[in-house]
Amino acid sequence: MYRPRLIPILILENDVLVKTVQFKNPTYIGDPINAVKLLSNFGADEIVLLDITAGKENRLPNLSLVREISEETNIPLSVGGGIQKKEDIEKILRTGADKVILRSHALIKPDIIPSAAAHFGTSTIGVCVNFSKNWLNTYRCEKNVWNIKDPIDLALKFQELGAGEILFQDVNREGTFKGYDTMFYYQITNRFKIPIVAAGGARKLGDIQELHEKFELNGYCASSIFLYHGTEKGVLIQYPNQTEKIKLFNKRLS
């Protein structure tokens, strides 16, 4: 039976693993190589690795570090940060990563999506759509070349261009432990033909289970759940075992 993915999302800043709150105030977590090795050994379904300063600094994630990380895994690895062109994707895939995640550059030069999808295959090209709520409680995406305001419309545009997967990332809730914004996901039901992955806000596995039972998405990203132990935020890399995971996604996609 098909089971959605439970995905640890790991944030890199200056080559170390950090945990952010709303992508700000990074707290040092540890060595990414070690964390990935542990998560891979625990049987993680996939790892998402995002370098959050690469884009701003107009560079790619540290490729030799990504290579060292990928050497420690035999599970799918997705990498994002600063990707602008086909050659960048090529470089990242050469490190052993399986999938890239595009975001900021796809907003201004979306042509990269069809050309990359044609060259590397659709399933290799994930696109991240960051969203937040404005003061009117309306969901908004980041500025883009089409002047689209609604994150769902933006994601549909990316789908049309050939994205293989959409990662919705809730900027307001990231690192806040508030749980996923279920209201947001009501709007996406039946609107996509490509896999949808949710990220931002999960505090406990129950949050993931709840979202899955309502919307049956294809993947659920979380980070604090896999990095912290207890309320004191002590660092402990952990991941549910196979039985726990199957129980979590007991409601199966048909």
Binding site: I75, P76, E165, K193
Partner: protein, 204 residues
């Protein structure tokens, strides 16, 4: 002890690094290449593949490549493992780019059907059901493997079906015909269960 020399067959397509990684983790001496010398050296051939069918065939059917490869497959009868696109390439024809395949196994490759609000590509972990007798029949039936694909194989001859998987409907997730084996999923990306399957192949 029996020598095991896997060759990761390089035809300028696909993610070779994951295979490199995986064979290294198994502690094996392996090569990446496509020369006659590499093929001669190899005891097992892995045909990886991520990407587009028609494009992959373009690189693969160059005479300097296909000649030595088919000699190893059909004359020397070396075990070959085609993975994902590598499995699909063994068939006669694919809807992806409407292109002719290698024709090693009878049948076609078609697009997955969008059913019950399931998404395409089929990305994620899924179980496989082995049918009939094979070296794999004693594998753990609850083990999950990583899939990522939008197309699937339809062998014309049912005796070539090794295993199937359910995603909205049943599709063939593995084939076997003499020394040819194909898996639609990625054993090299499927953690411990994947490694176990690869070890089985290397026992052939």
């Amino acid at each position: 002890m029996r020598t095991i020399h896997p060759l990761i067959y390089d035809y300028n397509q696909g993610n070779l690094f994951s295979w490199e990684n995986c064979l290294r983790q198994l502690g094996l001496e392996f090569r990446i290449g496509n020369s006659s010398d590499d093929l001669e050296w190899a005891t097992h051939i892995v045909l990886p593949g991520v990407g587009h069918f028609a494009k992959a065939m373009e690189s693969l059917i160059r005479p300097e490549l296909i000649g030595p490869l088919e000699k190893s497959v059909f004359v020397d009868k070396k075990p070959v493992l085609g993975v994902c696109l590598g499995m699909q390439l063994m068939f006669d024809f694919s809807e992806e780019g409407d292109a002719k395949g290698l024709g090693w196994i009878k049948g076609n490759v078609r697009g997955l059907e969008l059913k019950n609000n399931l998404k395409i590509p089929h990305v994620g972990w899924n179980t496989i059901d082995f049918v009939g007798n094979s070296i794999f029949q004693n594998m753990n039936q609850t083990a999950e493997f990583y899939f990522v694909h939008s197309y699937c194989c339809e062998p014309s001859e049912s005796q070539n079906v090794l295993c199937s998987t359910y995603y909205g409907s049943e599709f063939v997730s593995g084939v076997m015909k003499e020394n040819l084996i194909g898996f639609q999923f990625h054993p090299e990306k499927s953690g411990a269960s994947g490694l176990a399957l690869i070890q089985k192949f290397l026992e052939l």
